[in-house]
Subunit: 423 residues, 2 copies
């Protein structure tokens, strides 16, 4: 195997870790740096805690799970109960493209970097964990995160986003070590699940800020999120964040793998929504800006008139959130919400807005602006851009429409019920 030969060369020559000037790097495999690995997780609550039995916040089944491929488990973040900006790992949404999470033994797992590189490399998990690392709080949003008239709760309309502290090795470090050859401009990343999920990624993004993540919120990445390794492409649609990552091939052009051209595709407006016109705007990777009020939100019940903190989340793949405005009168007037610390790039940002409910009908909505100056669009603006009618967007019948970012209105009735005002 060429890879095995080259890996031996790497070990023998102790190639300098590019840019670090650290001298020879020597890796051994088959040994565990940390502690041993038992076969089952203990249930002693002193050893590993659980929530109170009175807390029933769980992920939700996706009512609109569909697509051209066989789905595995899909589950939605319970945003209506979200607190702060960190999404607990057990509540992070799950979007599947194949099977249930593969049962990967970390001692057996390998990451291969090959293709147009001078030194193909194979890493064990322990080897990766010995390298320089970074931790960053980033959101991940699936581009299937689409509000619609048929959806009732914020978990259903917006539950395919989540925010974690991700820890891992910069992909640029691994690529520099492998030595990318002239002419290479794309990567193809592949997962270890049975369906071998595959995504193409521009090399420039990989060199900028992409992580090979092994940590999530201070623990190893959870199985549903890609244990033991997940690609983390900050600010871009979650479909790029290849789970159970096992292979990165450096190439000259995108692979246009079947999954890449049949799903998560944004069709150019001038094609009239014809997916087969093959001019799909699939290179539109970046998410947001987007915001949503998480409380009060659809399905909740206000117990009485009086004071409430309207609160929600805003995020943008383009950078940090600069401003969130809230309207409580159906969009006639807007006032600045407060951004709660910390306000981080490419992370969920918590906003809050004090509100006194008079007992009259009200429509609550939020809109955000990111530090690129991009403003979250209204439904009408969004539909106009994609050459569709608002009704088509809401019903989901407008094919090829880009990632849904339009403003979400919640209607409060005189009885205190909160409903999706798009319905």
């Amino acid at each position: 195997m060429a890879e095995a030969n080259d890996r031996r060369r790497f070990l023998k020559e102790g190639a300098a870790l590019a840019g670090l000037g650290l001298g020879a790097a020597s890796f051994a495999s088959g040994q565990t740096f940390g502690t041993g690995l038992p076969e089952a997780h203990p249930k002693d609550l002193t050893l590993y805690g659980e929530p109170s039995r009175f807390v029933n916040t769980v992920r939700g089944r996706d009512p609109n799970s569909h697509g051209p491929f066989v789905h595995g488990p899909n589950a939605l973040t319970p945003l209506q109960d979200s607190i702060g900006i960190i999404t607990p790992a057990p509540l992070h949404f799950v979007s599947s493209h194949g099977n249930v999470p593969p049962d990967i033994d970390p001692r057996e797992h390998r990451l291969m970097i090959h293709g147009m590189v001078n030194r193909p490399l194979v890493f064990t998990l322990e080897e990766l964990k010995r390298l320089p690392f970074v931790s960053r709080i980033y959101f991940i949003e699936c581009s299937a995160n689409k509000s619609a008239a048929s959806k009732k709760t914020v978990q259903e309309t917006h539950g395919k986003t989540a925010c974690s502290e991700w820890t891992g090795v910069r992909l640029s470090l691994l690529l520099k070590e492998a030595g990318v050859q002239q002419g290479a401009s794309w990567l193809v990343a592949e997962g270890a699940e049975a369906s071998q999920y595959t995504r193409s990624l521009p090399l420039a993004k990989a060199m900028e800020d992409v992580l090979v993540a092994y940590g999530q919120n201070g623990e190893p990445v959870r199985p549903h999120q890609g244990y033991p390794l997940r690609l983390l492409v900050p600010g871009w649609k979650a479909a790029n964040d290849v789970k159970w990552l096992r292979r990165i091939k450096v190439v000259t052009e995108p692979y246009l793998h079947q999954q890449e051209i049949t799903d998560y595709v944004d069709v150019r407006p001038d094609t009239g929504g014809n997916l087969r016109a093959a001019r799909s705007r699939w290179i539109n990777f970046e998410q947001g800006p987007k915001s949503v009020i998480t409380s009060p939100s659809g399905g909740q019940q206000l117990p009485s008139r009086g004071f409430y903190m309207i609160t929600g989340l805003a995020w943008s793949g383009g950078g940090a959130i600069r401003r969130v405005e809230v309207s409580t009168d159906g969009g006639r007037t807007w006032k600045d919400a407060q951004l709660e610390d910390p306000v981080l790039r490419i992370a969920h940002t918590r906003f809050s807005f004090p509100w006194k409910w008079s007992g009259e009908e009200a429509v609550l909505q939020s809109r955000c602006t990111d530090d690129l100056g991009q403003v979250q669009p209204t439904l009408a603006e969004f539909a106009r851009f994609w050459g569709a009618a608002s009704e088509q967007v809401l019903s989901g019948s407008a094919s090829g429409v880009g990632h849904v970012t339009f403003i979400q209105p919640w209607k409060v009735t005189r009885e205190g019920g909160v409903h999706n005002a798009l319905a």
Copy 2:
């Protein structure tokens, strides 16, 4: 009941939330703002995820758990496996002062604020969650977090610290609403467990940054951490962070409750360590500055010579960490470590330091400086300050010595074993 009467008055008059100018606040109880409360937590992994079965990171039993009171569960954060700065809630250390966590139904729980206030108040959890909130990433460290010669791993030497995103209401907001009377200068906070844990706290600190926390890392506070409410006193010893918080009384002086004068007491050096001299320096609340290398650390095994990232955590109750230095030669030379983003006030800060292990014996240690200019002491400096011999400090026989913050050395043997160099 005076409190009930006053609470009714509060509801009726709709007293303005002080400083917010929000107009009338109207609270109803007995109704649920969110969703319903089932009696058991589901085990469906799609609804609530779990770590991989290959991940065995758990809290550790405290080998040195002792004290003058009956202990409940005690458990140590597994710092040797820590990643990033967030401690997962199930792995947050537990220091108990009484029983197992009380099984509190949040619908029944109340927080009373009374004593020297104009308007005694009683809040339900739902009422508190309707108020303005803040989220902050803060460490909590128990002052029993003491390295010693007898301890082997970083979990044992330093496992009584953890860092979470805490969300809650500022105590100052509640106190302003209650109207603190002239002459008041202290609080007494009480928990709802059977032993009614009680702590005194200066009013000035309460008005500065103390939180009544209901959220931890995006979820309700876990039962072992005080579900549904925990006092969070940033940067001060964890003993102040009253769990299962149910009562805050505004008073004129500290209560010197039995638990306050028999444990977590720092005796002034000039008393010769005599606890009964009653001049204990117990007003020394603030923690740190302190740092420790979490990897490589005691009990780990380096698989081979070559490149390693030395990494660890630093924190200070005095503010942000400004600098961490690492020595790999037993303290002869020190070099700056890299501080990893985010570097936050009163939070764990992750540092890293690239190191090539030659195969020779080495002693690794870290020392930190906070933005007040405070520098972490050596063992000798620490012992000298407290008027004790280093050996007394290490054996735990020096009574009344302040919170242990001295530098922790780890020795790497030629075989790659890592051991507590204090032993």
